[in-house]
Structure formats: structure tokens, C-alpha cells
């Protein structure tokens, strides 16, 4: 008899439990369609263009992998050079096709060119933009067709072993005969035009009207048979002992440092170029992919993502309150104060966009001749 009572009670409990369970399911099933309505279908993967080597590794660690962990969308990194993906995206948009990538990690100057051509999606509605500094806003464009994500300096990186008397103080050290064949620049000359102007005896105010001083200096550098390459090349060359001095972004030198090579860098007396990189989303993506691409950019602007991403790159970000890496406190490549910025050369994106093609061509002409 007692068992029957027990059974009866259990049954009632079970019924109550069952009912509440049903209720919960019913409740959640009511909210599920709402959740689906809020978030579009997730694509299998998002393709993000990135620079190779430590650049893509840092992006993976700081942004892509955490994004995948949170949303389940895989991120594929395309390592095509920024200059080379640009015409492909432009052609795709002009011909009404789906662009080859979802998110472009690009230099601000390049991104501005794309924005001027109206191939970028508007990013003003990203929530994390509220929490960014002035640096994130592109200069000279309405709203946020692109968003800047960090700044960097084209420093003079060098092998301390080649400088027993102390670090170099001027860009003119590139002209020393003992470094013939052991110096390196970016293959389009980027980051070097402006310091060359000063080192060649010219004035920054003359940019872009009269840059003869820069071209003369570069012609002198050409006699030193510089190696010309892209970001990972600098790291490789330092690691393999092919070069002693280079004009490159501090990230590449720092990467060689992390691999045990003795490298240091300075901002010489003539100054060094400061610029920004950013992210943008090309037009022509399907609705759901566009949504998630913007989510990715938003994620990259969050404090946690910026902290890890930029720790890997060793660069100052656009979110206030970021901790500089321990090895870069007071480093000229990590400018934080006004005084730091005084030593750096900043030329407006507008001037760069209008003249960059000419500067590339002139640099190429000198280097090929």
C-alpha cells in the first residue's frame, strides 16, 4: 500500500517535473524563432585577408580563433598581398560578383582608395565603435566606410652586432659602404619616402609638391643594392643573417627577436613614418555573410581582442586602456605620449592616396634602373 502511495507521489512529482520541463521547452521554442530572426544563418567560413608570418599569427590568436570559439564560424586567412587583392575586389564589385574575401585587413591608404571607389560597406553601426579612440575614425571620409584598428611606425631596425659603437642615429647609416647589399626596404618603398625626404635635405612641408630630396636620397640608397621585399622577408632575412639594417615595421623585427635573433630598432633623428591599418568589408556579399563579416570587425574592436592581437604585433591600438607589452614600454615604436608622436612623421591619407601610385612608380624606376 505504501508503495502505491510512494508511486503515486513520485508520479505526481514526475508529472510536475515533466510539466515544468515541457514549459521550459515550450518557452525556449517560443524564443528560438526569435533568436533565428535576430541572427542570420552562419556561413561555413569567413575569409579574412591578412599579411603573412607574425601578422596573421597574431590575428589568429587575438581575433580569429576567439571569434571561431564564440560563433563556431571558421576563419580562413588569405595571404594575397593587399595591393593584389584590391583590383580583384574592385573587379568583382564592378561586375556584380561575390567578392573573393569577407574582410580586408588593409593599410588605411589602400582602404581609403577602396572607400573612394565606393566598394566598401558602411561600418558605422558597429557597437564596439563607441569604445574607440579618435585614431579609429578614418580621416577625410564620411562615417566609417573603413575602421582603423591600430597604428605603427616604420622604424630603422638594425643588428646591434653591426653597431659596436652604439645604435645608429640617422637614416644616413643606410649609405655606409660596409652595409652594401645588407640593407632592406619594402619593395614599393612604403614607409621610406618621407624620412628620405628629410634625410635628403628636404622639408616635410614640401610633400608632395617637391620630393626631389627624397628621390635623390633613394638613388643613393639604390647604390647600396638593397634587398626589396614584404613583411615576412624582413624577418627571414634578419634570421638568416642576410641583412644588418632595414626600414621596416617594428613588428617584423620583433618577430625575429622572439626567435632569438639579436635585433633592435630606433626612430632616427630625421623621424619615422607613422600610419594606421584598418579593416573593411567589400560590397556584394550575401546578406548573412555580410552580417557575420561585420560581426568579425566588431569583434576585432573589442578590448580583449585588441589586447591579444596587438600584443602579438607590438603596436598601439584604438581602444583606450590597452596594456603595452612589457618589452615595449617606452619604446619609440609604441608611441603613447604627445612627445612620442612629435618624433614621428604623419602625412594625411588624402595626400597619400592621391600620390601613392606616382611614388611607387618613381621608387620602382629608381630601384630597377
Amino acid at each position: 500500500m505504501t508503495d502505491k502511495l510512494l508511486t503515486a507521489r513520485l508520479t505526481r512529482r514526475r508529472v510536475l517535473q515533466g510539466a515544468s520541463a515541457l514549459g521550459a521547452v515550450g518557452f525556449s521554442s517560443l524564443s528560438l524563432p526569435r533568436a533565428f530572426a535576430q541572427e542570420p544563418a552562419k556561413p561555413r567560413e569567413l575569409i579574412v585577408r591578412a599579411w603573412g608570418g607574425s601578422w596573421v599569427d597574431s590575428l589568429k590568436a587575438g581575433v580569429s580563433d576567439p571569434f571561431t570559439a564564440e560563433t563556431g564560424i571558421a576563419i580562413r586567412h588569405d595571404l594575397t598581398e593587399d595591393n593584389e587583392i584590391q583590383p580583384k575586389i574592385w573587379a568583382a564589385v564592378a561586375q556584380g560578383r561575390t567578392p573573393p574575401i569577407h574582410v580586408n585587413w588593409d593599410t588605411t591608404v589602400n582602404a581609403t582608395k577602396s572607400a573612394l571607389r565606393s566598394v566598401t560597406e558602411d561600418l558605422s553601426d558597429l557597437p564596439n565603435l563607441q569604445n574607440t579612440t579618435e585614431l579609429a575614425k578614418p580621416v577625410g571620409l564620411d562615417g566609417y566606410p573603413i575602421v582603423n584598428t591600430y597604428g605603427y611606425v616604420y622604424v630603422l631596425a638594425y643588428r646591434p652586432g653591426a653597431f659596436p659603437d652604439g645604435p645608429p642615429t640617422s637614416w644616413k647609416v643606410l649609405l655606409e659602404p660596409r652595409f652594401k647589399g645588407r640593407i632592406a626596404l619594402y619593395n614599393d618603398g612604403i614607409g621610406f619616402h618621407f624620412p628620405a625626404q628629410v634625410a635628403g635635405g628636404g622639408k616635410l612641408e614640401d610633400i608632395p609638391d617637391n620630393m626631389q630630396a627624397a628621390w635623390d636620397f633613394i638613388a643613393e640608397v639604390k647604390k647600396q643594392q638593397p634587398l626589396l621585399g614584404e613583411d615576412p622577408d624582413f624577418t627571414t632575412w634578419f634570421q638568416k643573417g642576410e641583412i644588418d639594417v632595414a626600414c621596416t615595421i617594428s613588428t617584423n623585427a620583433r618577430e625575429a627577436q622572439k626567435n632569438g635573433i639579436d635585433i633592435a630598432w630606433v626612430v632616427p633623428e630625421e623621424g619615422a613614418k607613422f600610419d594606421t591599418d584598418g579593416l573593411w568589408v567589400p560590397k556584394g556579399l550575401p546578406e548573412n555573410e555580410l552580417y557575420w563579416a561585420k560581426q568579425y570587425v566588431n569583434f576585432a574592436l573589442s578590448k580583449e581582442a585588441q589586447q591579444v592581437w596587438l600584443d602579438g604585433l607590438g603596436l598601439p591600438g584604438v581602444v583606450p586602456g590597452l596594456e603595452p607589452p612589457a618589452d615595449l614600454a617606452d619604446d619609440p615604436a609604441y608611441p603613447t605620449t604627445g612627445e612620442d608622436f612629435n618624433k614621428l612623421i604623419r602625412i594625411s591619407s588624402k595626400v597619400q592616396v592621391e600620390n601613392e601610385s606616382d611614388w611607387f612608380a618613381k621608387f620602382k624606376a629608381i630601384m630597377q634602373g
Partner: protein, 266 residues
């Protein structure tokens, strides 16, 4: 081979130089892929299969390789009928404007690869066909077609016209003659031509560079982009896969047709 000792020495000197030049990169890439270290060096630091394990798991490398195979297949499928018919036509018949047709069909050779690639990029772009993989196959076929025609016409040139006349004499209508007499005679040329087309398309680099993008990247382009990034030994491992394909193709070519066919006089 006739000749004095000096002739032998001189010849062997040249041959060994060329052999070294031809094989050195292959051996080095092969060796570097087995390194146990993290940087690409030859001789390798220690031996390990870990880079092969890595590429087996790398889905982007595998996808790129499959795409290359797909492109090569499309290329060969189109090249075989087009090239065979053209090769037979050129070898058997005295066509009017023979020289012009020859020059026209040699255009893929005379137009530099970059010119063909850019032209095709612009044309396919206008036709809204970029971004898909099969146009890349068609493009590879177009730029390598002279190889196919060349191989088939070489075979067809040695076809005795009397055989076809004999077949007709026995009552064979034209299509039957074609299928039963002409085609079997040019089969060696077709086989060597199609293997050539397949491998050339598999390795096609420049035109693919212009026509593919991140969504449809083929393996040679992926390797090239990666070389310009950090060079790690997994690139060597995937290159060995290419080498293996090449070796398989050479073996097949030898088995089915005999490599000696390329020594036949013209």
C-alpha cells in the same frame, strides 16, 4: 656512339652539369620536407614525418590540391577532342591558308603567357565568369593547346594514308575509317598529349594567379603566396606531393607510350 675519349669526357661533363641543374631543386625540396626542425634547410636537421602529418590535416592545402586536379581534368577533357581533331586535320589534309592556320594555332605560344592571362582575365571578367573554377580549366586548355596539337600531329604525320585507302577499299564508310584506323594510329600522340596537358594544367601558375581568388585558389598559387610569406617546411612537404604526381605522370607516360616518342624525328 662514336668518338674519342675526349669527346666522351666533354659530353659527360655537359650532361652531368645539366643533370645536376635539373635534379638539384627536386632533391633539396624532397630532403627539406623531412626535417625535424622548424626552418627550411638542406640538409635537414634530423628526420621526421611531422610536416607530412601537418599537411594531411591542412584542409586549405588539400582543398587547393583538389581544385588543381579539377582544373587539370577540365583542361584535358576539352583539349583531347579539340586538339586531336586539329592535329589530325593539320597532318593529313593540305588545307588552304595552311601557314595562317598554323600561326593562328600557335598564338598561345607566341602571345606571352602574361598577355594571354590578362586577356582571358578581362574577357572572363566581362562575361561574369570569374570566381568559378571551370573557366580556369578552359583557360589552361587554351594556353597549352599547341602542345596537344603538336603531339597529335606528330603521331598523325607518321600515319600511312594507304591504310585509310585500304579501309575504304574494304568498304568502310568515312566515320568507321576514322574511328577504326585513324584514331588508333594517333593514340600514342593523344595519350602523350593529354598527359602533358594534365600535368601542365596541374602546375599552371601564372594564368591561375590572374584568374583565381581566395575562394578558388589552386595549389601552385597557394604555394607561391606562401613562399612570399614565411617559408616553412610544410611547403616543402606539399611540393613533394607535386613531385610525386609528376613522377606518376612520367611513369604512366613511359608505360603507356614510351618516353622515346619524344625523340622521334620530325
Amino acid at each position: 656512339m662514336t668518338g674519342a675519349l675526349s669527346k666522351k669526357i666533354v659530353l659527360w661533363a655537359f650532361v652531368i652539369t645539366v643533370l645536376v641543374m635539373l635534379s638539384a631543386p627536386t632533391i633539396v625540396v624532397l630532403g627539406a620536407s623531412f626535417t625535424a626542425g622548424n626552418m627550411i634547410t638542406f640538409p635537414p636537421e634530423g628526420l621526421s614525418l611531422k610536416w607530412y602529418a601537418r599537411i594531411a590535416g591542412a584542409s586549405d592545402l588539400r582543398d587547393a590540391f583538389l581544385r588543381s586536379l579539377y582544373v587539370a581534368t577540365i583542361c584535358t577533357l576539352i583539349a583531347v577532342p579539340a586538339g586531336t581533331l586539329a592535329g589530325i586535320a593539320l597532318a593529313k589534309y593540305a588545307v588552304r591558308f595552311q601557314k595562317t592556320v598554323q600561326i593562328y594555332l600557335l598564338l598561345p605560344f607566341t602571345i606571352p603567357l602574361i598577355g594571354s592571362g590578362i586577356g582571358l582575365m578581362l574577357v572572363l571578367g566581362e562575361a561574369r565568369l570569374l570566381g568559378q573554377l571551370w573557366p580556369v580549366g578552359v583557360a589552361c586548355c587554351v594556353i597549352n593547346l599547341p602542345f596537344m596539337i603538336w603531339a597529335v600531329s606528330a603521331s598523325a604525320a607518321s600515319l600511312d594514308p594507304d591504310l585509310e585507302l585500304a579501309a575504304a577499299n574494304c568498304g568502310a564508310p568515312p566515320l568507321s575509317t576514322f574511328f577504326h584506323v585513324t584514331l588508333p594510329a594517333v593514340v600514342p600522340g593523344v595519350i602523350s598529349g593529354s598527359l602533358l596537358m594534365f600535368i601542365l594544367a596541374l602546375n599552371e601558375f601564372l594564368v591561375s594567379l590572374l584568374l583565381v581568388d581566395a575562394r578558388i585558389v589552386t595549389l601552385p598559387v597557394l604555394i607561391y603566396n606562401s613562399i612570399r610569406s614565411i617559408i616553412t617546411p610544410d611547403l616543402a612537404a606539399i611540393s613533394v606531393v607535386f613531385i610525386a604526381c609528376a613522377a606518376a605522370a612520367v611513369f604512366l607516360l613511359d608505360r603507356l607510350v614510351g618516353l622515346d616518342i619524344f625523340l622521334k624525328s620530325k
